[in-house]
Amino acid sequence: MEFLRFLLRRVLWSLLVLIGLSIVIFIIARAVPGDPARMALGPTATQEQVADLQQKLGLDRPIVEQYGLFIVGLAHGDLGRSLLTERPVNDDIRDTFAATLELVLATIFIAVLIGVPLGVVAAYWKDRWPDNVVRIVAIFSAVTPSFFLALLLQILAGYVLHILPTTGRLPPNFDFAPSHTGLVLIDALIAGRPDAFLEGLRYLLLPAIALAAATMGQMARITRSSMIDVSSQDYIEASRAFGVPEWIRVCKYMLRPSFVPPLTILGLEFASLIGNAFVVELVFAWPGMAAYGIRTILQKDLNAVMGVVMVSGVFFVLVNLVIDLLVGLVDPRVRIRGSRQ
């Protein structure tokens, strides 16, 4: 019960945060120098044409009124039209969101599946060579900029070794379209197309690794320190005295209480993950929402920018809600007390 109330409170707070986010971004997007209408029409357009478009976009009205119109549209699920693609922003986001979602999910999958075991290994052999190796790997992967890693992987795997494709989501002219969820791997499984699954995986691998490295390093570091913390707890000593085998002690009694900090960090990392996805999507020509977002920002495509930011915000909030739920599952203390700490 306490836990439900806790989650409900989080949801309400998140709504407030999202409203705040929309106001801030709305103002910032308009405060940046440059006239969207002029940028869309180009230098050869006449003053009348620009004024005409400004009026059409509602840019001549007071900013409060503009915001009001935006909110009314949002309430109807309408994000307006994009100046860049000249299509409804809704359609643009629908077409690109799944690609970003797939990339980000694969990234989290890799980061957790590799980072957490690395952290466990490092903690188990603390201050011995496996720990040193993991610490070096974790530091390097955490500090390497994702654009650099993306280019490096592209050159290595694509041009030198020729083992993995470097751009896109699927081979050109490949007769498969992700039509159920929009996620290539999932849809390939649903459609029973192992060939499409494999191709999708080949294309997904490099961008996902490039994006995952930083988060993986973080996961390894946090898991390590959290495991070391737990390993000196009395209850671990007690399980030793009762003769519980080593692997149960490490993989069950130590890992589960250690899992809350990495989970929490993962939720926070999510924001920078979407940020880094911009870069990785551009490098790998990944047709995702992050790359779409950056193109629209450069064009001052106001409706599209608002749309991308709001969708990212909701995404972030949802992910963190899921993480709150998971934390509650992992640690009964959170469930019972209805809060962390």
Partner: protein, 281 residues
């Protein structure tokens, strides 16, 4: 006293940190005959916990190392037997009651989960097997033995849902799971309030007497020594400085250190004692 269930002979333990080696135990001798109640008393840093850890095989080596001595259990040396053989004894035939009920239970697993895991692997080491249902039955049985009124509810609970006294009783139940012959108790209840601690000690004493277990009580509290033991070893700076029947020790302590320990116990009546124990530098 070779018929003792547990017999520690000439045990010396050193700790090596930052290149310096410090002797922590220097030739400790100690006997716990079957069905006897023995206390090991000493101040913090006297070596009583290291002695206990050496017996239970809980020393972290390094930094610790056992430089000499034997620990005979049932006539067999724990220090020279194979790890496998030793694990057949620890947590089963010789078991331990932990000190701090607030931190000795894993916060993220239910009591039933933790206890049946202990039982499962104890059974496995001894070459026995029990179904999950039988294990659960045994867990509930032992919880009832430590006077839990609602064993099922306690078993389903996470530690945070139980009071300190209840958690301490769970810790006792854990030690009893595989029917040990020797129970080593590390100051059980010190973390609890005085009334609850008294109840816990009473319970422990009753259980030990009912089942004819040998008890080695590790404590710094002379009141606990008096309550729970018939024979007592006094440790100071890694050496057993005095051993005697409990009644004799209190009546006529032979060593100055013991006398100062006894005098240091706060009294509710009589003249205010001077402080005979020199403050540590």
């Amino acid at each position: 006293m070779s018929e003792a269930l547990l017999s520690v002979r000439d045990l010396s333990v050193e700790f090596t940190t930052y290149g310096r080696t410090l002797p922590v135990l220097r030739g400790v001798n100690l006997d716990v005959p079957a069905r006897s109640h023995v206390a090991l008393v000493g101040e913090s840093g006297s070596g009583k916990t290291v002695t206990m850890k050496s017996i239970m095989g809980l020393l972290h080596m390094p930094p610790a190392s056992i430089s000499s001595g034997t620990i005979l259990y049932d006539g067999r040396d724990l220090l020279t037997m194979s790890r496998r053989e030793r694990l057949k004894l620890t947590g089963t035939d010789m078991s331990m009651v932990f000190q701090d009920p607030m931190s000795s239970l894993n916060p993220v697993f239910t009591i039933a989960d933790q206890m049946s895991t202990i039982l499962k692997y104890a059974d496995r080491r001894l070459g026995r097997s029990r179904s999950g249902r039988e294990r659960m039955q045994r867990v509930l049985e032992v919880l009832a033995q430590v006077r839990m009124r609602e064993p099922e509810r306690v078993a389903r609970s996470y530690p945070i849902m139980l009071s300190g006294g209840m958690r301490q009783r769970v810790l006792i139940a854990m030690a009893l799971l595989s029917e040990p012959r020797l129970l080593i108790a590390d100051e059980p209840g010190t973390a609890l309030d005085v009334t609850t601690q008294a109840q816990i000690l009473k319970l422990l004493k009753d259980l030990v007497e009912e089942r004819g277990l040998a008890l080695l009580m590790i404590t710094h509290n002379l009141g606990v020594v008096r309550e729970t033991s018939d024979y007592v070893y006094v440790m100071h700076k890694g050496v057993v400085v005095e051993e005697a029947k409990t009644a004799d020790l209190f009546a006529s302590p032979k060593v100055d250190y013991t006398r100062s320990l006894i005098d240091a116990v706060p009294r509710l009546t009589g003249a205010r004692p001077t402080l005979p124990v020199e403050a540590a530098p």
